[in-house]
């Protein structure tokens, strides 16, 4: 087992009456991509900003690269790169100029051209920052974190607002950082991103860590079952009761919002058989049937009882 670069125990942070972080515990191993996953307002940004020195904690212990951010902040900041959600971009500087300025803050910074290459902004090198598109600004912000050549790169929702292609490009950048031996600490509210990118992750909700593990282990821990998903074509109450009674299941959930029925089962064959039987008896057709493994969204649903969608974040 490799050493921990971040150790957090019982971290608490309050904003007036709101418990932004309510006793958070987790460690981050060196050299991995670590994800913090949760809806908006769960405490992800507060965690990053407490680790990097923007907030003072109200309780608990924090160690980043063996340093306490409250005691040796400047020493720590020389060894990390941070991308915040509100990046510090001077509007009338050119892309290369702002990278150059940030590079001067660090002893062992990466060359500007190399960073431009990594975040795909070579062609925008001479463009004023304020003329960049939202996605380009985002990538520049990631570039400003990378240029530090820090041991840990903190990325706060690096892919929010990016188009799919830009997202995939940024994933490549993040994987490359890992190859270079860096630890990447990222937050996201995209389940698929965490699943595809992260080696280890925590799920945070309302200032508390509700699960930790690799995406794989989390799914295995919470969902050895598979899921049958099909369309709810305005089934009446009686029919729904019949579904629950006749189909082999561990859990059935009717997603009224999405007009979907989810059947969790550890014996998918028997469940399917009874499902087809039921529909045949009623002379109904099954719509949009899908059999799949559980995802992090399902984990979130099971852990919090709330559906994880963008609308109810």
């Amino acid at each position: 087992m490799s050493e921990n670069v971040i150790e957090i125990s019982n971290l608490k942070k309050y904003f007036k009456d709101t418990k932004a972080l309510d006793g958070v515990n987790f460690n981050v191993e060196s050299g991995i991509i670590f994800g913090m996953l949760g809806p908006n307002g769960a405490g992800k940004t507060t965690t990053i900003e407490t680790l990097t020195g923007l907030y003072k904690r109200d309780d608990g212990n924090v160690s980043v690269l063996g340093l306490d951010p409250e005691k040796s902040l400047k020493k720590l900041q020389k060894k990390i790169g941070v991308q915040l959600q509100s990046p510090s971009l001077f509007p009338r500087l050119k892309v290369a100029e702002i990278l150059n300025m940030f590079g001067s803050f660090y002893q062992d910074s990466i060359k500007v051209d190399q960073v431009l290459n990594q975040v795909g902004l070579v062609e925008k090198k001479e463009e004023w920052v304020k003329k960049l598109s939202g996605g380009q600004k985002h990538r520049l912000a990631v570039g400003l974190a990378i240029i530090s050549n820090g041991d840990i790169i903190f990325l706060d929702e690096p892919t929010t607002g990016l188009d799919p292609q830009a997202r995939i490009n940024l994933w490549k950048v993040i994987k490359k950082l890992k190859k270079q031996g860096k630890t990447v600490f990222l937050t996201t509210h995209y389940m698929d991103e965490a699943e595809k990118l992260c080696d280890d992750l925590v799920i945070i909700d309302k200032g508390k860590i509700i699960a930790q593990g690799s995406p794989e282990s989390l799914i295995n821990e919470y969902f050895k079952d598979k899921i049958i998903e099909f369309k709810d074509v305005e089934f009446d109450k009686k029919f729904k009761e019949e579904i629950v009674e006749t189909i082999e299941h561990k859990k059935i959930s009717f997603e009224e919002k999405d007009d979907k029925v989810l059947i969790y089962s550890d014996n998918i064959q028997r469940s399917l058989k009874s499902l087809f039987q039921l529909f045949e008896n009623h002379n109904l057709e099954l719509d949009d049937v899908l059999i799949r493994k559980a995802t992090l969204e399902d984990v979130f649903l099971k852990l919090t009882g709330r559906v994880y969608t963008d609308e109810n974040l």
């Binding site: 020195g53 915040l84 500087l93 300025m101 001067s104 803050f105 004023w128």
Partner: protein
């Protein structure tokens, strides 16, 4: 040091590329110099007065009279019929109109010469009338061959020519320095509001560099403004600069520091860009007119004078006027500078006490 240099360069680039910022810092004071320069040094050279001359008859003396009046350099003569000249007087195109009756040289007697003038300009008219009297007195003496006893010989002495613009030019520089100090503080508000300051808080950049590089930049701009304003004043409007440039630079730097400090102090009381603008303008606008930088404080009503005596701009204006064009302010130079220094220190202390990075 490397960090300071990079942040300093970034600051300068940010500023130079900001068109409205450059307008206020460079173009605005220069436009002021041009406007005031053209107003107060206009009408090139000597003043002249247009006088209407009407002869009611034909006489050999008429020519003598006309020539004598033309010989007075400030008179601009126009001869026409009575009606035309009176109409010209009524419409303000004549300073006065003089009617000379028919003169019979063979039979010289007493003649009345009528002079019409605008009642509202009786002051200048009375001066003109007395010079005209002098002209006629000479003609009379020529005609009667009378002896002359007194000879007045006027000998002009070269004194330093001071125009109103000499007074104003240092005032414009003082104004430019005030604007630089006060409006310049908006940049920090802007960076704070856009959370750029906060974002830089996760980098190893020491925060004081953000301000110190900005202050250095503004001190340099104040020197640039000084050179520009003095250059234009000297070469285009012929303002004589009496002391050496380095003395002026010294005063400018002390003044610039006082206003930069005041600017930062004012924005410590602002939560947003909007409130910052409001607070600064409430201070800046009255100060501009109550500091005697454009006209002497003696012109102001006595009840505002105590206010004038508090404002730092008064003392920067005093010091610059004395150093640049040699107009004394009635306050010793050392006292002017001391008061500016006190302003710097006091505002700096308040700024440090109430400063908010975020």
């Amino acid at each position: 040091m490397k960090i300071f240099k990079e942040v300093f360069i970034a600051n300068i680039k940010e500023l130079i590329r900001d068109k409205s910022g450059m307008f206020w810092l460079i173009a605005f004071p220069i436009i002021f110099v041009f406007i005031f320069g053209l107003i107060f040094t206009g009408g090139s050279g000597e003043q002249s007065y247009t006088i209407g001359l009407v002869f009611e008859g034909d006489s050999p003396v008429n020519e003598t009279i006309e020539r004598s009046i033309r010989n007075v350099p400030v008179f601009n003569l126009s001869t026409n019929t009575r009606n035309e000249e009176i109409e010209a007087l009524n419409s303000g195109r004549r300073e006065l109109v003089m009617i000379v009756p028919e003169i019979d040289t063979d039979n010289i007697q007493e003649y009345n010469i009528e002079i019409f003038y605008n009642n509202e300009r009786s002051g200048s008219a009375s001066i003109l009338i007395s010079s005209l009297k002098e002209v006629f007195f000479n003609i009379e003496r020529e005609l009667t061959n009378r002896e002359e006893f007194f000879n007045i010989i006027s000998k002009p002495v070269q004194t330093e020519r001071l125009s109103d613009f000499d007074y104003i030019l240092p005032g414009i520089l003082a104004m430019a320095i005030m604007q630089l100090g006060l409006f310049g503080s908006f940049q920090f508000l802007n960076l704070r509001e856009k959370k750029i300051i906060r974002g830089l808080g996760v980098t190893p950049l020491p925060r004081h560099i953000i301000l110190s590089s900005e202050i250095l930049m503004r001190l340099l701009i104040s020197l640039m403004q000084t050179v520009l304003i003095i250059f234009i004043g000297r070469w285009l409007f012929d303002v004589q600069i009496v002391s050496n440039l380095f003395k002026v630079f010294g005063i400018v730097l002390i003044g610039a520091f006082a206003f930069i400090s005041l600017g930062y102090m004012l924005i410590t009381f602002a939560n947003s860009m909007e409130s910052g603008r409001g607070i600064v303008q409430v201070v800046q606008f009255p100060m501009l007119f109550l500091s005697g930088i454009f006209f002497p404080i003696e012109f102001m009503p006595s009840y505002v004078r105590p206010v004038v005596k508090i404002l730092p701009l008064t003392y920067l204006g005093n010091a610059l006027r004395e150093a640049m064009v040699g107009i004394p302010s009635g306050v010793a130079m050392s006292r002017n500078l001391l008061i500016l220094a006190v302003w710097s220190v006091v505002t700096l202390i308040i700024t440090i006490k109430f400063w908010k990075w975020e």
